[in-house]
């Protein structure tokens, strides 16, 4: 039994770190350090830099333009991005639709989309949730009616992260309202957001930022060659997408970055430092849990239900760190200062993002399977309850 990384893995970590240091635009880096959200152009530029080494798509196989990372390399790569901190490659592209195209896409679809998806020439949005379909996703109502070579799609999607930056949206639609089970009548469609009938409206979240949107689809004519997999078999594709790519789901490196900020702000405040140490103790052990699950992935590529532990505990610690950062910053953090405020003096700790980020991080225990859903999964799959 051995927890150590190999010399090659340690060298790889340094290689990733050096690449980030040399290639990440200083303004983008500064924004990430301060917890601001980089602009579209900054994110695109960074992903294209990563893509020069095939690193924009860490989980893709070499046969489809990925780097062929081992699970351990994927973890190290993401951990370095999180700790730097640097933007992750856009997850809708590389963790969600990319693997789906590789698994279910036709040769023509792969040819049309894969390279552009990796290079962020196409920015994808995720069109899953609806006002009436959150955790119970399969109850979605957006309809798709076949009309010749097109599906005519109408409905209301919600919580599309960064859809105002997006070109396309992968979308779940109800193509057979008569199906005996609600999971059976669903299809997986790719929708060009420039098509007539598409309207994107911002939703301003409690951090006073525009990150998410709702998308209205009004008789949008989607060509049938934009169907992924078989008609009415979209739920299988969805399950594949949701079980795919759980590496780094604990976001341990991001929490470490928050702890660095806490320590800078805490100065000699012993109470804050003790609370930070309590978080660090649990975070250190969660890192071991993460490695145990990675070790399992080396033996089997099947989805590991223990990933729910990483999500639950990872979010718990990240939320707790954001709360402690708020405490360390004190009332000065209450001043409203938006992300587009000019970058100031290099050494000054930017307090403007602390309250907004504390607030919006509450969403982390809601999206991607809420904490309650994760507990349900664990009770069922691990405890037989």
């Amino acid at each position: 039994m051995d927890l150590r990384f190999t010399a090659e893995e340690e060298a790889f970590r340094l290689d990733v770190r050096a690449f980030i240091r040399e290639n990440l635009d200083p303004v983008t880096h500064r924004k990430m350090v301060e917890g601001r959200i980089p602009d579209r152009e900054e994110i695109v530029a960074w992903q294209r830099k990563l893509n020069t080494r095939n690193w924009a798509t860490p989980s893709w196989p070499q046969s489809h333009g990925g780097p062929g990372f081992t699970p351990v390399q994927r973890y190290i790569f993401l951990d370095e991005l999180h700790q730097a901190p640097a933007p992750e490659p856009v997850s809708f592209n590389v963790s969600m639709i990319g693997p789906v195209l590789i698994e279910y896409g036709t040769a023509a679809q792969q040819e049309r989309f894969l390279a552009a998806t990796a290079n962020l020439d196409i920015w994808w949005a995720q069109g899953f949730s609806e006002p009436g379909a959150g955790s119970d996703l399969a109850s979605l109502r957006t309809s798709a009616r076949r009309d010749g070579d097109h599906y005519v799609v109408s409905g209301h999607k919600i919580w599309q992260g960064m859809a105002h930056h997006a070109d396309w949206m992968f979308t779940l639609v109800r193509s057979d309202p008569q199906a005996p089970k609600k999971q059976m009548g669903i299809s997986f469609l790719l929708i060009d957001l420039r098509l007539p009938g598409v309207t994107i409206r911002p939703i301003i979240t409690l951090d006073e930022r525009h990150e998410v949107n709702e998308v209205f689809l009004d008789e949008v004519r989607v060509p049938v060659d934009c169907l992924i997999g078989e008609e009415n078999k979209g739920w299988d594709v969805t399950k594949f997408l949701l079980s795919n790519e759980r590496t780094g789901i604990a976001r341990i490196g991001m929490t470490k970055h928050l702890i660095r900020r806490i320590k800078r702000l805490a100065g000699g405040n012993r109470s804050v430092l003790a609370k930070a140490a309590a978080l660090e103790a649990e975070l250190k052990i969660l890192e071991i849990t993460q490695l145990r699950i990675l070790d399992g992935q080396r033996r089997s590529s099947a989805a590991d239900p223990r990933s729910s532990i990483l999500k639950l505990k990872g979010v718990e610690l990240r939320q707790a760190a954001s709360e402690l950062l708020l405490a360390a910053a004190g009332t000065s953090a209450l001043e409203v200062r938006h992300d587009d405020a000019p970058l100031g003096d290099d050494d000054a700790e930017w307090l403007g993002t602390i309250m907004p980020n504390y607030g919006i991080l509450r969403a982390a225990s809601i999206y991607g399977g809420s904490s309650e859903v994760q507990k349900g999964i664990l009770a069922k799959t691990q405890l037989g309850l």
Partner: protein, 363 residues
């Protein structure tokens, strides 16, 4: 990285698991507790026969030369069976202290009786003792409390000043008051008044004590995992079989979620125990110090959560002495408190600067 057990480790696990499964159920355990020492000399011999009492010591020192993982395997099995024999005090704490701090001559004198199981040795971990040197003789004065295994030990290891001293339990000037400890096993409070020891009984330096405490934390972590997993398994089984309002209580989502939260803590504890087991080979003192502080902090918190909730989910029967869950509750509570509770470990980790510095990951 490789987190699987080797074939040899699997065989060890099977034989230890079998031994406690056959000879350590709750009734048998009650029988062992009622013996004069408060534990079973026969079981102790069985552990020695299996080689467990010599397991962690190097072959040079006459041991089996096995490491932290093997000790973890034994600890987990002992935790599940709630073993009360003094393995932690004698082998893990006192044995590690002597093996790390002793000269070859001292190790040759004190360690073999521990490895054979014929002598029970105990290490004072909460001691305030001074040592004055007069010629070739050391004179010890002071007190030690809650010396685990101290009630039945024939030999004691006591930190005084900058060193450790080995003394027989019947040394002149040593008084001890032995007692049972909640959660199983025994301990003693010691008073030392002018206890005279020759120079050869002094183990130089305190490094042995630090190593012993670290080994103790690794052991407690493993024991906690065994106890927590057993408590969780019993609780899940109970949820599935206990009926109220005409249905198994497992149909209640609040109880399912509580059990899932317990699972998360058990898995965290398991990670902590594995980390602790592998950390004993680490050469960097700071890495070991921060690592063991984190391990014990997490074990204490996770153990308390699982202990409290396994009683809660068992309902009334959970608070009865008769039911094994109440024994897991007490042992996990004791484990959390021994060798530094969560709060003191967190304070220590903070003093050591934690794992992450205030400096950026890179400039």
């Amino acid at each position: 990285m490789d987190l699987e057990l080797s074939d040899d480790q699997r065989m060890l696990k099977e034989s230890v698991d079998r031994l406690v499964a056959e000879r350590y159920d709750l009734d048998q355990r009650r029988g062992y507790m009622s013996q004069p020492a408060g534990w079973s000399a026969e079981m102790w011999s069985a552990f020695a026969d299996l080689g467990l009492t010599m397991l962690p010591f190097s072959e040079e020192q006459g041991g089996l030369g096995l490491g932290g993982v093997e000790t973890m395997i034994v600890g987990e099995a002992f935790g599940r069976a709630l073993v009360i024999e003094p393995y932690l005090p004698s082998v893990v704490l006192a044995g590690t202290a002597i093996s790390h701090a002793g000269t070859p001559d001292q190790v040759a004198e004190w360690l073999p009786p521990i490895m054979s199981g014929e002598t029970i040795c105990a290490l004072a971990t909460e001691a305030a003792v001074t040592a004055e040197r007069t010629g070739e003789t050391w004179i010890l004065d002071g007190a030690a409390k809650v010396v685990l295994g101290g009630d039945t030990a024939g030999q004691l290891v006591i930190p005084a000043g900058d060193d450790l001293f080995v003394l027989p339990a019947d040394a002149a000037g040593l008084q001890r008051r032995g007692y049972r400890v909640h959660g199983g096993g025994g301990a003693a409070d010691l008073t030392l008044i002018g206890v005279k020891l020759p120079e050869k009984n002094r183990l130089s330096g305190n490094g042995g004590c630090t190593r012993a405490l670290e080994a103790g934390i690794a052991w407690l972590a493993a024991e906690a995992v065994g106890a927590m997993q057993a408590a969780l398994d019993l609780t899940v089984e109970y949820l599935k079989t206990r009926e109220q309002f005409g249905k198994p209580i497992a149909v209640n989502q609040s109880l399912q979620h509580r059990a899932a939260e317990m699972l998360v803590e058990v898995e965290q504890a398991r990670s902590a125990a594995m980390y602790a087991a592998l950390l004993c080979d680490e050469h960097d003192d700071h890495v070991r110090a921060t690592g063991y502080a984190a391990v014990k902090a997490v074990i204490g918190k996770a153990g308390r959560f699982v202990a409290q909730n396994s009683v809660q989910l068992h309902g009334g029967i959970g608070v009865s002495e008769e039911h094994v869950i109440s024994h897991y509750f007490r042992r996990l509570t004791a484990i959390g408190m021994l060798l530094g509770d969560t709060e003191s470990q967190i304070t220590r980790l903070a003093e050591l600067g934690g794992f992450t510095t205030a400096a950026p990951h890179f400039d």
